[in-house]
């Protein structure tokens, strides 16, 4: 089976959920003997390389300061046209499109060149504007969502069946691999520092209290700073611009800006941390949650969206009621987040926590999700028509997380 994954961002240039998911699924499918082609873009020279058994075509990015100011989506349109050109030449059996693959002409293109595709919704959208935002979903043989709430929303708005398929976590890559200093706990924030939706400012507010009650703790900001051209610190929205929210100078001194680091360093960072914090809203899944759990580190995250569906066991993390953007500025929620972090630190000190977290994360293991992806794509290639039934989510299938 020839599979194409067209998406403008890819490792190592962009290290967010979709890119990680594409990488893991592509590697898994290639390992199963399929021809996998990731079509992506690069800020550098366009080229084609092999990432293991995965063929990666890096298309040229159109980057210019004026474009990002006046026509930010232009780069996406250029990528879509270029990716269609490559796929036309390659003629894959099936393509896996993500919400921001940007190939809005996919329905026409698919019919013209007889290449079926699945469409995976990976972000929340303004309700009622779904067709404007993602017209390509109409031509997909199968719509997929990252969590059950999102699947309901897709079914409701697009009036089409939608299955749930979560991103995988590579249990071989992510595992406990470093000692944890329980006396000097590390609170790890691995989310994008420039994305206000990730709740960095709420975490800074909460950090005042966390530090007061646990002065030996350190907060490590280990996320990247914005996806190029999309999320930038232009309006002082990044965590770095809001460090003043930490009023105690000593608490501020206990914050370490680590940077995105290397891919290979992430497992050790998770392993050393006492608790990973992702206080985001509108989070479709939150791959850092499952990665952290796979490394044996409990997580503090929202009780809603993707993280809410993962953290359903009190022994693997603590949830906070973070539902809307307003919650990210709420003093009450900051206090609740601080309590949750302190509880998470306590949880990490329990001897059984690490093993429990890892076991819990195995529900989203790559071996399971990869097989699910393979089966789905094979169904699409074999069936040729739209899948009318709704597939159960992995959680339902394996009894981990119910819809």
């Amino acid at each position: 089976m020839k599979v194409a994954f067209p998406y403008p961002g890819y490792w190592p240039y962009v290290r967010r959920g979709i890119e990680r998911c594409t990488h893991d699924l592509a590697t898994f499918l290639a390992g199963r003997g399929h021809e996998v082609h990731v079509i992506t873009s690069t800020p550098g020279r366009p080229r084609t390389e092999w990432d293991g058994k995965v063929k990666v075509t890096y298309l040229r990015q159109v980057n210019h300061p004026l474009l990002f100011k006046y026509a930010a989506l232009f780069r996406l349109a250029v990528f879509a046209l270029d990716a269609c050109r490559v796929m036309k030449a390659e003629r894959p059996d099936v393509a896996h499109l993500w919400a921001f693959s940007g190939i809005r002409m996919a329905p026409i293109w698919s019919r013209a060149f007889h290449v079926p595709y699945v469409f995976q919704m990976s972000v929340y959208w303004p309700r009622g504007l779904g067709d404007q935002w993602f017209p390509e979903i109409r031509g997909a043989r199968q719509a997929i969502a990252l969590n059950s709430h999102m699947a309901d929303a897709v079914e409701d708005e697009f009036q089409m069946p939608c299955m749930v398929m979560t991103p995988p976590v590579d249990m071989r890559t992510f595992g406990p691999c470093a000692e944890r200093d329980l006396d000097n706990p590390i609170v790890l924030y691995p989310a994008d520092l420039a994305d206000p939706r990730k709740g960095g400012s709420l975490l800074l507010r909460a950090w005042n209290r966390v530090y007061r009650e646990c002065p030996s703790a350190r907060l490590v900001l280990a996320g990247s700073l914005g996806v190029a051209g999309w999320l930038q610190d232009q309006a002082g929205q990044s965590v770095l611009s809001k460090l003043d929210l930490v009023t105690d100078p000593r608490a501020r001194a206990a914050i370490e800006l680590r940077g995105p680091g290397a891919v290979s360093s992430l497992p050790a960072w998770y392993s050393r941390a006492s608790v990973t914090v992702l206080p985001s809203v509108d989070e479709a899944f939150g791959m850092v949650v499952t990665e952290s759990l796979a490394c044996g580190t409990p997580v503090v995250a929202s009780a809603h969206g993707g993280p809410g569906e993962i953290l359903t066991h009190p022994g693997v993390g603590v949830t906070v009621d973070l539902r809307t953007a307003a919650d990210l500025t709420s003093g009450k929620r900051a206090s609740e987040l601080a309590e949750a972090i302190l509880r998470g630190i306590e949880l990490s000190r329990e001897t059984t926590t690490a093993a429990r977290c890892r076991e819990w994360a195995s529900q989203w293991g790559l071996d399971r999700v990869g097989l699910e992806e393979e089966g789905l794509l094979q169904d699409v290639v074999a069936g040729g028509g739209s899948i009318s039934h709704r597939l159960p989510s992995l959680s339902e299938r394996y009894g981990g997380v119910g819809r």
Binding site: G9, W11, P12, Y13, V14, R15, T42, P43, G44, R45, R47, N63, H64, P65, L66, F68, K69, A72, S224, L225, G226, V227, A228, G229, Q232, D233, Q234, G236, S238, L240, S241, L243, D244, L257, G259, P260, A262, V263, S264, S265
Partner: protein
């Protein structure tokens, strides 16, 4: 060296960047600053074939490029700097700049040290930093220094708009850099100041150049049209006008005798040997009396008297503290060089019996020789008895200001570096260099990177006699001819002197200029039969009117004698200059 290319390094750096496993923001930050990395790679390649390099506070790209080229790289890492995993094993020290530079190791182990944007951000004084890092360099090692220079376009614009170019350190910034560590400058300086610091730190600047350190804008940072146009215009201006560029890069090397540059830390006064040349016992005696009355402690200086073997000098009175060294001719270079070699002091001063030194002469000279300053000269005024109308050639005329000329009657040198530079030797193969050896030695030292100075307080009053004592009546002709013949060679060898020493960069003096003008005028009048051209002789006549009193008639005879004397001398100088100009292939008239 800066700017030369030996390999396709632009390709190398670009290729590295393309395959660097970094996020796109890191990529764009590195790509933005790629021009400086490429310049540094080129510069380092020009400065070092192979060896061990230390980089203080690098970005990720530079050490990777140097590794790829086969250098062994060590890194001193500062907080908030981003390196790739591959480079972590190369980090030998980590800490703030203050910590790293406060106590560096003392072992010389590096062939080259790279300091990108360190001097302007380090809390320590730059000469101190340079001095400490110099100790880490092996013999012949080099520093490659990049700094934001004071004349950069950004700083000029800030000055125009009333903003302080150095930001208040109390103001916190949320800016992040994934290329060079984002450290704030605490000082601004220019290239000349940097050069002085290097000298104080026992280093000399081999090359300096203004360089463009970054592209006009980060490709993914959204900019409005006016902001983008401004950035592009600034970039274009920097291309057109090098002095507006943001950074200056310098290749610096250790001086040959760095240990001696720490003399200024000695609490004890340096020992001085004064070499006194003379032929007349009475004048030598008088000069020794003046030297005996110096304010400098007697036990810290001694005098070597160079005198002709056939002149008997009694070692009594003031001569008692002087060593008498007979020689064939005290004015010979060999004699002066022998005295330099034999001197017991670390500083050697040169004067002669015709010079009247001030009481503080030795003290001032010894005080000025410190650190990288290894040669000091001073003014030579003309005493009242001198034959002033006939003083024209450098070395035989008044020296009031810095003309690039070091008088053999008033010069101080640090002995060890003077010997290291070759000592006193003929400045040009075809001349004896009797009057210009001090100038030649000083310029050789300056060319080696040491500092040489002209100190107006180091004053000497000298008698320029019509005929040198002890010499024949006609000997002055040979001397003046030689002096004139030396001059073009000296100017050719040290072109920087030309503007300072020569009138209009061409004439040995104003008087020779007027003389040449007169010659041209008279020749033109005679050959073209146009008497009006003789008017060109007027400046010569006017400049010598004091010596040519043609009225009243009773003065006609002495005026005629003076005119004859002037014409003879000018003819001798003209001949000497002409011969010297041909030989040196440098015209001086």
């Amino acid at each position: 060296m800066i700017g030369t290319t030996r390999v396709d390094d632009a390709g190398l750096v670009g290729d590295l960047l393309d395959h660097l496993p970094v996020t796109d923001r890191v990529f764009h930050d590195l790509r933005h600053t790629q021009p400086l990395v490429e310049t540094l790679v080129r510069t380092i390649q020009g400065a070092l074939e192979t060896g061990r390099i230390l980089i203080v506070a690098p970005n990720a790209l530079l050490p990777l490029a140097l590794k790829r080229l086969g250098y062994r790289v060590d890194i001193w890492q500062v907080p908030d700097a981003s390196l790739t995993e591959e480079l972590e094993e190369h980090v030998t020290r980590a800490g703030t700049l203050a910590d790293l530079l406060a106590n560096p190791p003392n072992e010389p182990e590096y062939d080259l040290i790279v300091l990108p944007y360190v001097l302007e951000t380090a809390p320590h004084e730059p000469p101190e930093v340079l001095e400490r890092l110099r100790r880490l360099l092996v013999m012949g090692g080099r520093l490659v220094v990049v700094f934001r220079h004071a004349g950069a376009l950004e700083h000029r614009l800030m000055a125009l708009t009333g903003q302080p170019p150095v930001v208040d350190p109390a103001i916190r910034s949320s800016a992040v850099s994934y290329s060079w560590p984002l450290t704030r400058p605490v000082r601004l300086f220019g290239r000349d100041e940097f050069r002085v610091w290097c000298r104080r730190g026992g280093l000399r600047v081999l090359h300096q150049a203004f360089v463009i350190d970054a592209r006009p804008a980060v490709a993914t940072n959204a900019m409005s049209l006016p902001a983008w146009l401004a950035a592009e215009a600034a970039y274009a201006a920097k291309w057109r006008v090098p002095a507006l560029r943001s950074a200056s890069i310098a290749v610096v090397e250790t001086l040959g005798n760095p240990a001696s540059t720490q003399d200024d830390t000695l609490t004890e006064l340096p020992r001085v040997t004064v070499v006194l040349r003379g032929c007349d016992p009475s004048r030598i005696g008088a000069a020794l009396v003046r030297l005996g009355a110096q304010t400098y402690p007697r036990q810290r200086f001694d005098v070597v008297v160079l005198h002709p073997s056939d002149v008997k000098i009694e070692p009594q009175g003031p001569s008692a503290f002087a060593s008498l060294v007979p020689c064939r001719n005290p004015e010979d270079l060999e004699a002066a060089n022998a005295a330099l070699i034999a001197a017991t002091g670390s500083i050697v001063a040169f004067t002669d019996e015709l010079s009247e030194v001030t009481r503080s002469w030795v003290e001032v000279g010894a005080r000025e020789i410190q650190g990288a300053t290894v040669a000091v000269g001073g003014p030579v005024s003309v005493s009242a008895e001198s034959a002033t109308p006939f003083l024209v050639m450098p070395g035989a005329r008044q020296l009031e200001k810095d003309e690039g000329w070091f008088s053999t009657s008033n010069a101080f040198f640090r002995k060890d570096v003077a010997l290291e530079a070759g000592g006193i030797r003929p400045p040009a193969a075809d001349t004896r260099g009797a009057s210009s050896w001090a100038t030649d030695l000083a310029h050789r030292l300056a060319d080696s990177g040491y500092t040489t100075r002209f100190d107006p307080s180091l004053e000497v009053s000298r008698l320029f006699p019509f005929i040198q004592p002890g010499k024949g009546r006609r000997s002055w002709m040979i001397e003046e001819f030689e002096r004139a013949r030396e001059l073009p060679g000296t100017v050719r060898k040290w072109p920087a002197m030309r503007k300072q020493l020569l009138a209009h960069g061409l004439f040995a003096s104003r008087r020779t200029m007027y003389f040449d003008l007169m010659l041209a005028g008279l020749a033109g009048a005679a050959l073209r039969r146009r008497p009006a051209l003789a008017v060109l002789a007027v400046p010569f006549v006017l400049s010598n009117r004091r010596f040519l009193p043609f009225w009243p008639a009773s003065l006609l005879k002495p005026a005629g004698r003076n005119l004859r004397g002037l014409l003879v001398r000018h003819s001798i100088w003209f001949a000497g200059l002409a011969v010297g100009s041909v030989k040196a292939r440098r015209v001086v008239l």
